[in-house]
């Protein structure tokens, strides 16, 4: 095969469709399906959710039991955000004046933090820091 200036060219420089439309259709389909599989494989794993389940009947099963009721299921599928387990647990904010049971270390920390709010001088800061370190390391 030669071009007009007599340079040989590879047969692959010709598009497949110029060769055979059946092959073109084949390549297009395989390419499309290949892309679809690639896209499916790239999906991240998600947490379990409720909803319609595509039935999988193992190939070769003589007596597959396909549950056709699934096709008429009208149950609304919840989004992932609706499932409490899928969300990180948030800390409950404490209201002003509300009593909260704290551990000893937490009490010390709270006291230290409260004290720090009232710190003005550098000396106060150093003293508060010392108290904080003592409180934290007391049980170690």
């Amino acid at each position: 095969m030669y071009t007009s200036n007599n340079n040989p060219i590879s047969p692959f420089e010709r598009a497949p469709e110029t060769v055979n439309p059946v092959l073109t259709a084949k390549f297009k389909r395989l390419s499309e399906v290949g892309e679809a599989i690639k896209l499916l494989n790239s999906l991240p794993n998600e947490k379990a959710n409720k909803g319609f389940v595509l039935p999988i009947v193992k190939f070769g099963n003589e007596n597959p039991e396909v549950d056709y009721s699934i096709y008429t299921s009208s149950e609304e599928v919840k989004t992932y955000e609706d499932i409490p387990e899928s969300k990180p647990q948030k800390e409950t904010p404490v209201k002003d004046g509300e009593e909260v049971d704290l551990t000893d270390n937490e009490k010390d920390s709270v006291v230290t933090i409260l004290d720090e709010d009232r710190l003005n001088s550098e000396e106060d800061r150093v003293a508060a820091a010392r108290r904080y370190v003592e409180a934290v390391t007391r049980d170690l």
Partner: protein, 123 residues
């Protein structure tokens, strides 16, 4: 002018021929896809196929105990972060992890089957 018309007709015919072949291949794939889930009950019809790179279609027809015909078409839309489905033209809903896993397994098996049963025979 005649040459131009001739070229246009030929061009259209070629494009139409390719499009027709493409559709035929999908139809053939759909039948093979429907068999992935086991034998189809008598009087029923099942098709499963890849419509394009992000859409999978499941179509089922069956007869209930009263002899009434039913059909259901489910489209699976594969998006970058999740799979959504719509049944009989309803709104898209996200699928469960289990269903996504099943769809993936079915798709992998589908690709294998169509290669063996159709495309390995086209050279």
């Amino acid at each position: 002018m005649i040459q131009k018309i001739f070229k246009t007709i030929l061009g259209n015919n070629k494009a139409e021929r390719e499009a027709e072949l493409y559709r035929d291949l999908i139809r053939h794939e759909a039948k093979i896809g429907g068999e992935l889930f086991g034998p189809i009950p008598k009087g029923g019809r099942r098709e499963f196929f890849c419509l394009d790179k992000r859409t999978w279609v499941w179509h089922e027809e069956w007869t209930d105990e009263n002899g009434q015909q039913h059909s259901k078409t489910t489209r699976y839309d594969v998006r970058p972060n999740a799979i959504f489905k719509a049944q009989d033209g309803s709104h898209y809903k996200p699928v469960s992890e289990q269903e996504a896993k099943h769809l993936k397994e079915a798709a992998l098996l589908y690709e294998k089957r169509i290669r063996t049963k159709i495309y390995n025979h086209i050279n």
